[in-house]
Amino acid sequence: MYSDKVMDHFTNPRNVGELENPDGVGEVGNARCGDIMRIYLKVENDVIVDVKFKTFGCGAAIASSSMATELIKGKTIDEALLITNKAVTQALDGLPPVKLHCSVLAEEAIQKAINDYKEKQKNKVGA
């Protein structure tokens, strides 16, 4: 049911963990639905220099988180904002139709983490 890529990212997920003093954090989903994704960003000069994730969810959710973090690592925040769920799905060689929402969660988690980073920047400038 899953592609080899999905199984690879599920078995050996990249960038699992947390970051100390992250510049941005984004959490989406809820335990009720069986999916929670949290992404941590380290940003320097608007470039995502490090990213980690923690996910409670199915194989597709874990693989989508792992792939999403790989896709945005080293990108500028503007480039990262352009990453869609489609890009995550394609990079995983596809997801079963009932699992597409996992890739949507990954896209939303990235956006939320970047928005959090932007908010924090604004506050810094204001202070």
Partner: protein, 373 residues
């Protein structure tokens, strides 16, 4: 069973030798099935499986008795073959009461009694639950249904071959069973219908199954079911003893090795081979995938394994929160499983759970413990 695919291919409705041989084989299977249930030979009707038996029993009783009343009682943890049939009947103007269960998944016979109204025509309560293995007080419920003159159906798909069944002693009017749950073939089942029960035929178009289920019989399937039920019954006591030993070794072994695990279902009144546990902080499908990679085939009540948004209706009915239900794991032990198999699961499961928990944002390891954040 195999010769009935290509050598003994007669149609039991024919009067020639081949037909008579097929008839004999069907009769033998019917006899074996009746004997195991303490039913009569002509009270056994072969069907296309457990789902068909459940559909027939409930719709058949409802349509044949609608002049008497339109109320049906069932439980909230039934198989979907029962629940969805009841929902269909609700659309057709019937009223259905879905009884709650306690935290072990047990139906209270007194609640059955309280729910019976003057227009109640059927009580349908499963013998044993397919997910959590809980065995219901069927004899008590049967006695209540009889005293109130209401038909009593039980879905015994999971119970046959694992639990002693006596339709007379337990006052069961209709009972569904399936071939492939007792190591028989798929696509074959049976419905026991007590003599004198008012029920509409399932299929029209022939005299097969005493005019109630028309269509040429699935002879290999019927022969396979007959043999399977005979074997299951003969070896039941021995198998149960062994399976209960393995089951409890597995349950206790997991609970001793892994923290934050809950047993779903009743500790003792459960099917001999049923293990159902919830692992906090992780989701069931990722657990299944990991186990599958180690050669262990299991299942889960997580939404992700069902293709819907909600986890198992059975786990929610016993009071689990959505997140705990998502983290459930069912392992069914069978005839071929050994103590080595159980020990293998006990060896590979803890690191899998640990790995998934370390990935989970719900899991925070503290000094020797953990908590939800």
């Amino acid at each position: 069973m195999l010769p009935y695919f290509n050598q003994d291919f007669g149609n039991p409705s024919s009067i020639h030798l081949y037909g008579r041989q097929a008839r004999k084989a069907v009769d033998k299977a019917r006899e074996s099935t009746a004997k195991v249930l303490n039913a009569k030979f002509d009270e056994i009707f072969f069907t296309g499986g457990g789902t068909e038996s459940d559909n027939w029993a409930i719709k058949g009783i409802a349509f044949a008795n609608k002049n008497k009343g339109k109320h049906i009682i069932t439980s909230s943890i039934e198989h979907h073959a029962v629940l969805y049939t009841c929902e269909y009947l609700e659309k057709m103007g019937f009223e259905v009461t879905y009884l709650p269960v306690d935290r072990y998944g047990m139906v209270d016979p007194q609640e059955v009694e309280r729910a019976i109204r003057s227009d109640t025509i059927l009580v349908s309560i499963m013998f044993a639950n397919n997910e959590i293995g809980t065995i219901q007080p069927i004899k008590e419920i049967g006695a209540i249904a009889k005293s109130k003159d209401v038909y009593f159906h039980t879905d015994a798909v999971q119970a046959v071959g694992s639990v002693d069944i006596d339709v007379e002693d337990m006052n069961i009017d209709l009972l569904s069973l399936s071939g492939h749950k007792i190591y028989g073939p798929k696509g074959i089942g049976a419905l026991y219908i007590r003599k004198g029960t008012k029920i509409v035929p399932l299929l029209h178009g022939g005299a097969q199954e005493r005019n109630r289920r028309a269509g040429t019989e699935n002879i290999p399937g019927i022969v396979g079911l007959g043999k399977a039920i005979e074997l299951a019954h003969t070896n039941m006591e021995k198998n149960n003893k062994r399976l209960i030993g393995l089951r409890d070794r597995l349950i206790n072994g997991i609970m001793n090795r892994i923290d934050h695990v809950l047993l779903n279902g009743h500790p003792n009144l459960r099917l001999p081979g049923n293990v159902n546990l919830s692992f906090e902080y992780i989701e069931g499908e990722s657990l299944l995938l990991s186990l599958d990679m180690k050669g262990i085939a299991a299942s889960s009540g997580s939404a992700c394994t069902s293709g819907s948004l909600d986890p198992s209706h059975v786990l929610l009915a016993i009071g689990l929160s959505h997140e705990i239900a998502h983290g459930s794991l069912r392992i069914t032990l069978g005839e071929d499983n050994t103590e080595e198999d159980v020990d293998y699961v006990l060896e590979v499961l803890p690191p899998i759970v640990q790995r998934l928990r370390e990935m989970s944002p719900l899991f925070v390891q503290e000094k020797g413990g953990c908590q939800y954040v």
